[in-house]
């Protein structure tokens, strides 16, 4: 992901890279408020997703963030909040 802001499209791209797609789940649909569990991504897939977001955006998420977020909307909010407060991300 080359953009410096985390978008839902960027997140979908990362999710596909780190854990493929699950049968019966359409990532192209509106996934913002569905839980990662519903979407078929387990805790390790989320950990890997977090690492990719950190690398792409030059941020460091709090250790607790990935345990707390349930949905793509919550993850994007947490990431973009970090980005906003990150000195290099302006």
């Amino acid at each position: 992901m080359s953009v410096r802001e985390a978008t839902v499209d960027g997140l979908k791209q990362i999710l596909r890279q780190v854990a493929g797609e699950v049968d019966g789940v359409d990532l192209d649909g509106d996934i913002l408020d569905r839980t990662f569990e519903e979407l078929g991504y387990d805790s390790l897939a989320l950990l890997e997703t977090g690492a990719r977001l950190e690398r792409a955006l030059g941020i460091k998420l709090d250790d607790s963030t990935l345990n707390e977020v349930q949905t793509p909307r919550q993850l994007l909010a947490a990431v973009n909040e970090k980005r906003a407060t990150h000195p290099d991300a302006a």
Binding site: Q17, V18, A19, G20, E21, V22, D23, G40, L44, A45, L47, E48, A51, E54, R55
Partner: protein, 404 residues
């Protein structure tokens, strides 16, 4: 009285073909899958041949979500597991999940995946190492992934005893079925053909540096100079014989006898453990040597190991006392996948009443072995003995026979 345990399904991934039928047709034709390595540039290495599974396209056999988290060997194992269930006519989703287990053998885990992540670590830094490295390299990963994919929540495990592992895993599965597990998926599918895995195998000192695929792996030849490694293997469905009969399953044969022994330390002067493994496996099967119609040899192609194996077979069966074959001369030695593929060949020999050949070698006359050379041999096969040895002193022997 121990209950009889039978094989009702088989999934094969071999350098000579995907699936039981292609593997077996290639074995009948004596077609070899040993070629120059394609998976990486091996020109700078002393050994440059392998039995690679070149026609396996993971995306065709493994769900997309499992691709980023699996090593090549795990993808092949997942495919073999699917095929074994299909072959057995079993949909695991309709079986009780705690009544099914999985036992695989492993030699070194997912080396190619691990190599990639080590590269990421040293070239880019720790934050570039995949979270999936936590398990993708691990010995037990094939067991875990198969268990998760098919919901096999009964007793499961992994056996690590190098090439002997394929038999040891089947034996463990037999124990679990005898203890009441209704079904156990077992065997080995292995792969380590990447630079990191390759140097580890070379360090063992038993890999052939021959350049000609037609004569690099010559077990029992007087000038034997090591083996050619391969990748792949077989996974088998084991069930209680009565339960299998009850559901009208097609039965390949019975896992009738097994034993494992360990060699004495080098320099002890004591006899290696293979002969005793054979005798104990026969005893476990309640059979005399005369009941064995063919022996599938370990076929190390290291002169001292070949002498040990020939002597063990000769001592038990007499000089040229039983046909001996090594279809692994067509595939290379598949690490922990080797022996379960040999058990597959033994069961198919019982089904079809012919024995696959040993190719590309000319056994020394001093061994006094009746090796099935060059072409398949038709003969009545009611029982077969499969031998396997692992680096470091592991010996295993298994008797399979036509189900009663």
């Amino acid at each position: 009285m121990n209950t009889s345990v039978v094989v009702t399904g088989i999934g094969v991934v071999a350098p000579t073909g995907l699936g039981v039928n292609k593997y077996w047709a290639a074995a009948r034709a004596g077609t070899s899958g040993i070629r120059a390595i394609r998976r990486f540039d091996a020109t700078g290495y002393p050994a440059r041949l392998a039995g690679e599974v070149v026609d396996f396209v993971a995306e065709e056999h493994v769900p997309s979500r499992l691709i980023p988290q699996t090593d090549h060997m795990t993808r092949m194992a997942l495919a073999a597991a699917d095929w074994a269930f299909d072959d057995a006519g079993i949909d695991p989703a309709r079986w009780p999940e705690f009544g099914m287990g999985v036992v695989t053998a492993s030699s070194s885990g997912g080396f190619e995946f691990g190599q990639g992540e080590l590269r990421n670590l040293w070239r880019q830094g720790g934050e570039f190492v995949s979270a999936y490295q936590s398990f993708a390299w691990f010995y037990a990963v094939n067991t875990g992934q198969i268990s998760i994919r098919h919901g096999l929540r009964g007793p499961s495990g992994v056996v690590v005893s190098d090439q002997a592992g394929g038999l040891d895993a089947l034996a463990q599965a037999r124990r679990l079925v005898r203890k009441g597990c209704r079904l156990s998926l077992a065997g080995g599918v292995d792969a380590s053909i990447c630079p990191w895995g390759w140097v580890a195998q070379l360090a063992g000192g038993r890999v052939s540096t021959g350049a000609d695929p037609g004569d690099a792996y010559r077990p029992f030849a007087t000038d034997a100079a090591g083996h050619v490694p391969g990748e792949g293997g077989a996974l088998l469905i084991l069930e209680d014989a009565e339960s299998a009969r009850g559901r009208g399953a097609r039965v390949y044969g019975e896992i009738a006898g097994y034993a494992a022994t360990f060699d004495p330390p080098p320099g002890s002067g004591r006899e290696p453990g293979l002969r005793r493994a054979i005798e104990l496996a026969l005893e476990d099967a309640g059979m005399d040597p005369s009941g064995i119609d063919v022996v599938f040899a370990d076929a190390a192609a290291v002169p001292e190991l070949d002498r040990t194996e020939a002597a063990a077979i000769r001592t038990v069966f007499g000089p040229r006392g039983v046909p001996v074959t090594a279809p692994k001369t067509m595939t290379g030695r598949l690490l922990s996948g080797a022996a379960s593929l040999d058990v597959t060949a033994a069961l198919l020999s019982i089904r079809d009443q012919w024995v696959p050949p040993t190719v590309n070698t000319e056994p020394g006359v001093d061994h006094h072995l009746d090796v099935v050379l060059g072409a398949p041999r038709e003969l009545p096969v009611a029982a077969a003995l499969v031998l396997a040895r692992g680096y470091g002193g592991f010996n295993a022997a298994m008797v399979v026979r036509r189900a009663g």
